[in-house]
Assembly symmetry: C2
Homo-oligomer: 382 residues x 2
């Protein structure tokens, strides 16, 4: 299909829908200045050498998710004239991608970049770091973490795991994944072997899905051989690198389990407390700049990737209304069950969902109305 043809096809699909609607720690050791004979202010200004290792949950090829801790590390080195260095390692170089929390908690590394929901087996409360299925979108999550008490609350939870953490941007709303067969009814989900990340597998089980936990690099061969029937990763730009379009053409949306999923930088709490306050300040600023950079990269690259994927044969499909509604119902049932037995989950759930209600009330006024107008105009090509 020509590029133009692919775009037209995509637009047709969309129109229909719109109608339907960084080993060792030097720690704080080695102040790199000849202290004797220097006036007091010079010592106060000195930057101690700190070298940290960061183990990521991602392969280097994902220059979005892996790019975020790299961006943070580069900026931090620039600000401190190379004195505070974080070296980032890909998944598997130090520990496997799904063991980042353990590695940070036990001090194997000083920090790690990961999706907190990978650790929902330790406690489902971890999902709130990434996102609650049917949670909040990208902007709402920043509002929740930085002005809604979310960051403080989640860090209170993280203390039991000897971690301090900050979210670093979001993947934006994810896609629902690649399916070898069309999903027309809830019935079509029964017995489906579906690779998906995190906590959402517990919801999918209620719908008859058999959730599969498979690391990024192993998904493609499993889908190709038919060992699994479907797989989700993130969205067009990342998914394209993993090659799914070649083996499963139906590309569903939206990924309701991750409306605005946040990767986090987790730092061993003792290591965090060992660095000077001005290094903590630099870390915070660089982390949020890196987050903005990553989110914006997704937004800049996804449009091009979705067009290329459509050109390569991807068939874009919204999840049927009955699948969305059954998923919503199953999600809320699960939340009720966990709230009844997990005090941490309930505490964060109540806090998170109260914030969510107000967010969607306001969203529909200005931003959603404006976005709707612009989408309509664009589809009408006037």
């Amino acid at each position: 299909m020509s590029s133009r043809g692919a775009e037209s096809q995509l637009e047709d699909d969309m129109e229909k829908t719109t109608r339907r609607r960084f080993l060792r720690t030097a720690g704080a050791g080695g102040i790199g200045v000849a202290a004797a004979g220097v006036a007091a202010p010079a010592i106060a200004q000195a930057n101690p050498e700190v070298k940290w290792r960061c183990t990521a949950s991602w392969p280097k090829s994902l220059d979005t998710l892996y790019g975020a801790p790299e961006y943070l590390a580069k900026r931090l080195a620039e600000i401190t004239e190379g004195k505070f260095q974080i070296q980032v390692f890909a998944a598997g170089e130090i520990v496997p991608g799904l063991q980042v929390l353990d590695a940070v908690q036990n001090g194997t590394v000083e920090c790690g970049h990961t999706a907190p929901y990978y650790f929902y087996g330790k406690d489902p409360t971890f999902t709130f770091g990434s996102d609650l299925p049917f949670g909040m979108n990208t902007r709402m999550k920043n509002a929740y973490f930085f002005h809604g008490g979310g960051l403080e609350l989640f860090n209170e939870f993280l203390k039991d795991y000897k971690c301090y953490g900050v979210p670093t941007g979001a993947t934006t709303c994810q896609m629902g994944g690649w399916f070898r067969k069309e999903i027309k009814t809830v019935e079509d989900l029964k017995g489906l072997k579906f690779r998906l990340g995190g906590f959402a597998g517990l919801i999918m089980q209620k719908l008859g899905v058999i959730p599969q936990q498979i690391a990024a690099g192993d998904i493609y061969p499993a889908l190709e051989k038919g060992t699994i029937d479907a797989a989700e990763w993130v969205g067009p730009y990342d998914d394209e690198k993993l090659g799914f379009v070649k083996v499963a053409r139906y590309y569903y949306y939206p990924g309701w389990w991750e409306p605005g999923s946040n990767p986090w930088m987790l730092v061993n709490l003792d290591k965090w407390n060992s660095i000077p306050k001005h290094y903590q300040a630099a870390f915070h600023a660089a982390a949020q700049e890196a987050g903005m950079w990553m989110t914006a990269k997704y937004d800049a690259q996804n449009p091009h990737a979705i067009k290329r994927l459509a050109g390569a044969g991807a068939q874009l499909k919204p999840f049927p209304a009955e699948v969305m509604d059954a998923s919503w119902k199953a999600a809320n049932e699960l939340y009720g069950e966990i709230n009844a037995k997990n005090a941490w989950f309930k505490k964060v759930y109540d806090h998170f969902t109260a914030f969510r209600a107000d967010q969607y009330l306001w969203l529909q006024v200005a931003d959603y109305t404006m976005d709707s107008y612009m989408i309509r105009y664009r589809n009408a090509k006037t």
Copy 2:
């Protein structure tokens, strides 16, 4: 009206809508370290004292817009252990709010925090710093500036004004303003004396509106006396502080002239080039962290403010479709006229609008579909 009653009224309004569519500069002076007898690395690490003044276009009471340069200044001071200080001044303390560009350009101050579109009279190209009417939303603007070449292009333009600049977050989609009378048709706009910011006045003129340029503090009395018929500022949280609800009850949306308007930190180019690279790095990181903080503050506070405003009697109204369509048409006519005679405008316009087309294509797939579902669920109160 009780708070609950106000929320119900607001929800009723929204449901209808959803149904209808779905120093003075120390410069680089005074390196604060006794250089003689100190090993070379100590000098490289030393932080020189830099004190800048920042004049803002905002009164202190607007803790969102004014809060952003304050947040930036605080973080920069923390990172540099108090060596790089920026003191922020409110509009009128050094120069009036609409003279920030001149003050930065001629070196009266080292930097200023403002909305570039205030200076569209010098060159309409300034509007692209803030936003193009019917431009792009908050996330799209970050994507455009940081991954679409927008930042480099706008800074090329700014060189003629001896400035270097960075956007620091966005106001999010603004509201359309406060009107003393209902706007039911395009005809109702004829002769309307409407206070509105920036470049959009040129578009409104084509619709018969008589645009008024009035500084923030003077808008309320003008509206109260009936000297003007309508006024827009930003959105619920900021507008509430200015008290408009007491004198004009119809609150229209969306503010199509500012779908994701960015305030900028503008720095005198010579001053920017005089500071060490690691200060520039710290500045960049702190600026983007401040931007995230400001955008998130709008998102966190606007829901509460809109409920309070509804409780105080605000009547929320979407602009009628014919007003939106006439505005869109008038905007594009104006862009055609300016493109024919202003090479800078045309260059940025073509670059900006090409990026925009892809953004709205992609938006409607995952994020918009998910937001739509969540809004629908909320309204159904299931």
